[in-house]
């Protein structure tokens, strides 16, 4: 009798223990997921891995913050909209001035900032995006400050001439090129509008992708081909390239 009841008690307690652990684990992992997705818009130091990799590897020690010679970087305090304790910067306050020796990456002990980054021009902290409704140059004034301050001069931001039209005078508009823009934010800092009309954001938030199937025939570096590519089959086998090729076979 007693052994039976003590066995029952043991079983009950074990189940309770497991249930408590599981509940705690679930709440805990929920908290973690919430925190980890807190701010996909945070602008990270140069060489930072994608958000998931960065979140995993950053040990939140602040050595990059301390070694930044411009006090650009900050560690996110608890309660901020940025994932807890991780380094980030607000370009409108202090942008990244793109040191050639990249001291912040060198300071990182875990490699959350990729140590293989050798040239600061190759870093992608973010991407500058222009709000053309509020950009002085796009409205028609002569500004072009972002173009002039850009450290990757005339590559990341170029000026395009829009000739005069009926009832519209000529404009010199800035354009950002994602193949050269590092997201340093010097342009955002310099933008004279009340709220910056050029802003650095995470590229994933604004950048599209045209897809591989488009053939830009008028471009020199695009091979001109009629080769039809069917989408991948579910079973992994290749589809024989047929499709519209009969148009080129001289039967019609």
């Amino acid at each position: 009798m007693t052994s039976k009841s003590s066995r029952r008690e043991f079983l009950t307690r074990s189940v309770q223990g497991v249930a408590l652990t599981a509940t705690g684990g679930l709440v805990w992992s929920y908290l973690l997921q919430q925190q980890a997705h807190a701010a996909p818009h945070a602008i990270r130091p140069p060489g930072a891995y994608d958000e998931a990799g960065f979140n995993a590897k950053c040990i939140k020690c602040g050595q990059c913050v301390r070694d930044c010679p411009y006090d650009t970087l900050k560690l996110a305090p608890t309660g901020e909209m940025v994932a807890i304790g991780t380094p980030y910067f607000i370009p409108r306050e202090i942008p990244c001035y793109m040191c050639e020796d990249i001291p912040c990456v060198k300071a990182c002990p875990t490699g959350a900032l990729d140590h293989s980054l050798e040239k600061i021009e190759e870093s992608r902290m973010g991407l500058a995006v222009i709000d053309i409704e509020n950009c002085l140059s796009w409205i028609g004034l002569r500004c072009e400050i972002c173009h002039r301050v850009c450290p990757i001069l005339d590559k990341a931001i170029t000026i395009e001439h829009h000739p005069r039209k009926l009832s519209k005078h000529a404009r010199f508009v800035p354009l950002v090129h994602s193949d050269a823009c590092t997201g340093c934010g010097v342009c955002e800092k310099a933008c004279p509008t009340e709220i910056a009309a050029i802003r650095v954001v995470q590229p994933e938030l604004v950048q599209g992708k045209i897809g591989e199937h488009y053939r830009l025939g008028w471009k020199i570096d695009t091979p001109i081909t009629q080769e039809f590519k069917a989408p991948k089959r579910k079973d992994g086998k290749d589809t024989p390239a047929t499709g519209l090729d009969y148009l080129n076979q001289g039967e019609i």
Binding site: K60, P109, T110
Partner: protein, 319 residues
């Protein structure tokens, strides 16, 4: 269960198991005497605040030695004199479990810190370095002054469940599970790099420790303490227990933040406080009226064990 060992023998006897009268601890009236009793608390605060000051001074006031910054970073990871890497081994273990490759630097740093704490006594981290210790010590002291009773009983082994959970969740969620919610890192980071809402977590621990459960955080839940507790099982520096002098007055148990480690029976057997849960804080040493307890090396305990065994057998023969 095993608590009986720690309670005082019935009043009528007033003799310890060694036949000597049980004397209570009396706080000395002189300042020098008091300081002597408080000496380990003072040393611990110097170490805790001193290390915090080194971090602060290096970041904010540019402290350096021979042109090299003194101590950059925080307790999660840092660089000493610009070359020696240091890192929290538990944090690094969690990051490792997220299946991301780590730079050599932080792995070496974790190894150095692990070695230091293994030599000094595992949870020596808890009472000598961890900034939360000052919060929980304050709560614990207030609790004794106000004689607040525990709201419920919680097994102290729960921290090992939390430890296992933090490792498992690191694998599942892909981020260092404890590092992301750790109030220890939060407090230390915010003291050095700017205050945020981290104080709320600290206040939470203080209230929990003060009103809900004695040593609730450090003694029951903290997985970092549990991690160093595992390390402490092999640490060479331990608190030695001189069995023949002990009268079981239990003064040490009253001040100990981990009272279970002061198991007199076990201590008499091995001649030291063997449990990894002991934080080597030294509180028990200064309140012991018989000078039974003292810092020493694990190897010395064998010697004292032998002598105590001899004494015990002598006593047995005598009776």
């Amino acid at each position: 269960m095993a608590v009986d060992n720690n309670t005082v023998k019935p009043d009528t006897v007033k003799l310890g198991p060694n036949g000597k009268p049980v004397r209570p601890f009396v706080m000395p009236s002189t300042l020098v005497g008091k300081l002597k009793v408080w000496r380990y608390i003072i040393y611990r605060r110097i170490v805790q605040l001193g290390s915090l000051l080194l971090f602060l001074g290096t970041v904010h006031w540019g402290w350096s030695i021979a042109g090299e910054p003194l101590l950059i970073g925080n307790l999660s990871s840092s660089t000493l004199f610009g070359i020696v890497p240091l890192a929290d081994p538990f944090a690094v273990l969690q990051i490792f479990l997220t299946q991301h490759l780590l730079e050599q630097e932080v792995v070496i740093g974790a190894g150095i810190v692990l070695l230091i704490y293994t030599l000094l006594g595992g949870r020596v981290w808890c009472s000598w370095a961890c900034p939360i210790n000052m919060v929980s010590d304050l709560a614990s002291w207030l609790r004794r002054k106000l004689s607040i009773k525990d709201s419920f009983i919680l097994s102290r082994n729960i921290r090992y469940v939390v430890l296992a959970l933090s490792l498992i969740l690191s694998v599942i969620t892909g981020i260092a599970a404890f590092e992301w919610v750790s109030p220890i890192s939060m407090l230390h980071r915010e003291l050095i790099f700017g205050i945020g809402m981290g104080w709320m977590a600290i206040l939470g621990i203080f209230i929990f420790d003060l009103l809900v459960l004695r040593d609730g955080w450090c003694g029951h839940l903290c997985p970092l303490g549990a991690f160093y507790g595992v390390v402490g099982k092999v640490a060479p520096i331990r608190i030695l227990f001189d069995t023949p002098t002990c009268t079981h007055c239990s003064e040490c148990v009253r001040v100990c933040p981990e009272p279970k480690v002061l198991n007199f029976k076990k201590a008499a057997e091995v001649g030291m406080i063997a449990s990894g849960d002991c934080t080597n804080c030294g509180r028990c040493i200064t309140v012991c009226p018989e000078n039974t307890l003292a810092f020493g090396l694990r190897v010395q305990s064998n010697i004292s064990k032998k002598s105590s065994n001899k004494l015990e057998s002598n006593l047995r023969r005598a009776t």
